[in-house]
């Protein structure tokens, strides 16, 4: 029996879905190691404490809330110091982070401060004797490694969307705490967080991703992709590297080897040929749909359902059909 730590990612006063996934993963690890407590840490500006009950509902026995006016933006140094101190004093078997932009920044810092190693982009985990054994994709997902972590605490960062956050009846106790260092003394300061397009769903978290490639021919034709995404209502918009390199979409929208990794329930590739670099970012999607006028495009090798045709005809028809289907739900 051993307790497990979870870091709950926040942005402003919102808890991010990956944060709830981390709590659920920690709960699973605690169960697998014979049942222990899950202690979740969350940091944020005034207002974040109101979200503690929500975190408790996802399996945290204790929610440690650090509410501070200096934490309106992510502070890597404050988060590192506070998480490392907590993990050290708690004697945890494992600590779970998220493989998000913030988690990729934070987990290795915390691990190095604790003198232990870390595995990111974890797909699944088991406990085997003294080791926590995880699966981790290598070579852009073309190879899957099984890795044994001997270090204690074992520090892992989960890939988003591989664990569905599970609610349980437990209402975790809430503990208020102070940051380990004063945010005003941090050397690195996030002076601004600029939100992307108003309230749009994030690529890594959206259950549906509609992505566009060069086949759209011009930046303004991305409206076709956006319209299809809005017909679904729960879809985010992505793009290929060719498209972000041409400045049609921001780099943060790029799905692929050097961009974002996504594994939604449904991935729709619009005018995307399916270069290796792109497939690396989306091949683990559960269902893949491709629309492309070239019947020999490599995207059709991975698409569960393909339509060979002109995106300018097929996508508006698909958008109308999806709107219609959603109406009857």
């Amino acid at each position: 029996m051993a307790n497990v730590f979870a870091f709950v990612e926040t942005r402003g006063t919102d808890v991010r879905k990956v944060g709830l996934e981390a709590v659920t993963a920690a709960r699973m690890l605690a169960e697998k190691s014979g049942g222990g407590e899950v202690h979740a840490l969350m940091l944020g500006p005034p207002g974040i404490a109101a979200k503690a009950a929500q975190v408790g509902q996802y399996g945290a026995d204790a929610v440690i809330v650090v509410e501070h006016a200096g934490l309106a933006n992510y502070s890597p140094e404050v988060a590192t110091a506070t998480a490392a101190d907590r993990i050290k004093s708690g004697g945890y078997r494992a600590a779970v982070f998220s493989t998000s932009a913030q988690g990729r920044d934070l987990a290795p810092r915390v691990a190095a401060r604790l003198g232990v190693s870390v595995v990111t982009d974890v797909l699944s985990f088991e406990i085997e004797g003294d080791s926590i054994v995880v699966r981790h994709p290598m070579n852009i997902g073309k190879v899957i490694a099984t890795i044994a972590i001997g270090a204690k605490p074992a520090i892992i960062a989960m890939r988003p969307n591989v664990i569905a956050p599970v609610q349980n009846a437990k209402a975790g106790r809430v503990e208020n705490a102070q940051p380990s260092i004063d945010p005003a003394t941090a050397r690195v300061k996030v002076i601004e967080t600029r939100q992307g397009g108003g309230g749009k769903l994030d690529l890594a978290e959206a259950p549906v991703v509609v992505a566009g490639g060069r086949g759209l021919k011009a930046a303004e034709n991305f409206k076709l992709v956006e319209d299809l995404a809005s017909a679904f209502g729960n879809a985010a918009v992505g793009a290929t590297r060719a498209v972000t390199d041409d400045g049609w979409r921001p780099h943060s929208d790029q799905i692929g080897q050097t961009g974002r990794l996504v594994s939604p329930e449904l991935y729709i590739a619009v005018g995307i040929s399916g270069a290796v670099q792109h497939l690396a970012g989306m091949r683990t999607s559960k269902t893949i749909v491709a629309v492309n006028k070239d019947k020999d495009a490599p995207i059709f090798m991975v698409a569960d359902y393909g339509i060979v045709g002109d995106v300018f005809e097929v996508i508006p028809a698909l958008t109308a059909a999806v709107r219609e289907a959603k109406k009857h739900h």
């Binding site: 942005r11 810092r109 972590i149 690195v188 569960d304 959603k326």
Partner: protein, 250 residues
């Protein structure tokens, strides 16, 4: 400015990989190797700063077997000034072991800036830069897509999910580089000739016992072969039916 860039030699990913006989490494036969893209962008960032600041020096460091000297030479041919090869039989998966070996070297260099690529596609772990920063006790900004340095201070941009962070930091600092920061220059013929004469120091890497070990590598299950539903807008009703009844995602 005194800049160090840590670079890794990685295989080209545009192939079907085979698992080696030992089951814990990829069969390297027939693979093409080059500098990791993210590391090439880090080298470019260093060279841009050097172009702007007279008297700057760019040191390129790589850990691994003798073949990594090719990767160091590539960076030297782009315009870096000198190389350090931290010699090790192989590069372990354990990011902490690598970060410790690199930071033991980096802490002796008196660098104003230490640059890394944000990750390498082979191990796909992306932890060495921020771990080295922590071991060195230096400020660190990861995955930057823009960079300005002036008066001993820097400003960088990071891409988040659906947002961007604008970050300020003092020097010396460790930065890891994302795509979008720049496009790496190609070595010129003159650069390639000059690189042969640039100093490349070889030292043994101080690799600690790994805390994480690869037990097994496997190829992921193949996706079942794709199916073309039909042609043109006429195929849309059948696609929607399949999404509703078979895939159950609509």
């Amino acid at each position: 400015v005194k800049i160090a860039v840590c670079v890794k030699r990685v295989p080209d990913m545009d192939v079907r990989f085979r698992i080696g006989a030992d089951n814990v490494s990829v069969d390297e036969a027939g693979l093409k190797f080059d500098i990791n893209d993210f590391d090439a962008w880090a080298v470019e960032a260093a060279l841009k700063l050097k172009d702007k600041n007279a008297g700057s020096e760019v040191t390129v460091i790589s850990l691994g077997p003798d073949v990594v000297q090719e990767t160091i030479r590539k960076a030297l041919s782009m315009g870096a000034d000198r190389g350090i090869h931290l010699k090790a039989e192989k590069v372990p998966f354990d990011g902490l072991a690598i970060a410790k070996a690199l930071s033991a070297e980096l802490k002796t260099g008196g660098y104003d800036l230490i640059l890394f690529g944000k990750m390498s596609p082979d191990s796909s772990n992306g932890v060495v830069g921020p771990m080295a920063a922590e071991l060195l006790g230096l400020p660190c900004v990861t995955a930057i897509s823009s960079l300005e340095i002036a008066d001993g201070k820097g400003t960088a941009k990071r891409e988040l999910e659906g947002a961007q962070e604008i970050v300020e930091f003092p020097l010396p600092a460790v930065l890891t580089v994302d795509e979008g920061l720049n496009a790496a220059r190609l070595p010129s013929l003159k650069g390639i000739m000059a690189a042969k004469k640039k100093p490349l120091e070889v030292k043994p890497a101080q690799l600690a016992e790994p805390q994480v070990t690869v037990r097994k590598l496997e190829l992921p299950p193949e996706r079942k072969a794709g199916r073309v539903v039909g042609e043109g807008a006429a195929a849309v009703p059948e696609l929607v039916r399949l999404l509703q009844t078979e895939a159950k995602v609509l």
